[in-house]
Amino acid sequence: MSALDILIILLRIAFGAFVPLSFVAVLVWMERRGAAFFQDRAGPNRCNVYGIRAAGLIQNIADAIKLIFKEDVVPGHITYKFYFILAPMLVFITALLCFAVIPFADALVIGDREYIMQAVPMDIGILWFLAIVGFGVYGIILAGWSSHNKYGVLGGLRAAAQVISYEIPMGLALVSLLAVYGTVDLSAMAQYQGQLLFGFIPAWGFVLQPLGVIIFIVAAFAETNRTPFDLAEGESEIVAGYHVEYSSMKFALFFMGEYVAMFVSSALIVTLYFGSYQIPWLSTETLVAYARPVVIIIMIGLPVIGWLFGEWIKKNNRTHYYRPDDPRSRETTIYISLLWSLVAILELILLCYVIFAAGGVADRILVVLLQIGSFLLKTFLMCFVYVWVRWTLPRFRYDQLQKIGWEKMLPLALLNIFITGAIIVSFN
């Protein structure tokens, strides 16, 4: 094992562990500010460090400090403290482990070696995901039960019943998808989606499985306990459900686990149905072959995007009432200068690449970086869909939830398998 091997293994593991974690901050921010904008409010925008509010991201630091310094209560009536403490860890760790098998870029070819861009390079992909994600609900059930609280138990029960009902349509939607791709390896699925259908449509999962994608997304919402399926913590009926007895960082672990699960299931939806890391019409080989023109297009596009973003900041980052010596205009100047220095640095790096490094390994690394960017952008948009749905749809009633799961999604998923099978058999 060479030094390069070890470096790449470390980079992959770092990516798999830290990207979901840092996305928690982004997702909490997106949830709160997004919710506010959906409801014509402003959201948390007052927290600042020396006047820098970073669009409300500083609020996350305040929240974290608050949660860390709160008293960590283990109520006296709890009999099994071990399970009580184990439950939030289980929720968080299972959510984080799911991300390990999701590829975030095409295999990196350096010399004669190929490095698969997954935190854990395994070819059982989707099976790993199903196994681990099913474990996640154990944490919720355990939390509800060990809290020794009727609301907790009700929340845990609901979570269990819901996950059991929705794992079936989810699994069946995956069956038809596996029939299309002919593999369980997520990397192979991602590579499959780099092809073109009839020569001009990207062969992404949602084109091949239009019914399957709807079933899978709905089931994934239920699986992550997000609105409209967040009955396990329906605050109007059962207070906060399974985490009613938790406080401080133990609660924060549930909270973070929920957001990591949301990120991971977005990543999985993107991987299975929205072309994974593929950039539409630009497969890995095309990108490597035309690396130089692509970089030049990016170099032209960057200042334009920077300018638009800067104009948006200037327009919106000001006080909407009279205020002498507006501190927000000072903040705006800092943002604008940061933005343009970032653009300048990127331009410089790309220029160095074009002049000195183009061709060979540098092209491969560039393509991997572009694909990581594409993957993260798609996942980010899918997370936005999660937030968007949460602030649009009301929560289902419990019987409606089960009815949709068993009477609508299950037959639809079976029908989908039937149609997919018929098409595959008749075309081969």
Partner: protein, 174 residues
Amino acid sequence: MGIKVRVVERKGRTFLEQLYLVEVAKGMAVTLGHFFRNILDNSRLYVRHYPEVKPEITPRWRGRHRLTRHDDGTVKCVACFMCQTNCPSHCIMIEAGERHDEKSEKMPVRFDIDLLECIYCGYCVEACPMDAIRMDTGIFSVTSDSRESMVIGLEQLLETPGGFAESDYKKGGG
């Protein structure tokens, strides 16, 4: 005279509505419209930037109490106990004393209002025969960090100025 019968149309029974997805898409289009409207121009948010921009208070608003004075500066209150008797939350405590300014026989020597007990119903203002107690200060945010300071006495009540012009108050509250 027959009973008016209005038949309410039952919604949500057609196939498209039962399919649910179409309606979800419609709802999501509405919320996304709001999102983009607000993110592209955040001056269009329906919010008041509260601590900096205060809401407009009308003269009819029942704010914190005050005691009024005659034009010559003497206290209007005659310690008749009307407000204390009427108060549903028993937050007014009056102690009457001898009066020597020829206006009346009695005046309050102590007039405490416990703002933590007060429910701001305005019965004291209604009951007062002398128009001595009013709630027209326009103070809507009554906060403190100790219980003791939430009981305000005679001096404080007399010191607090009215928030509105006399004519506006007469027009609004009557």
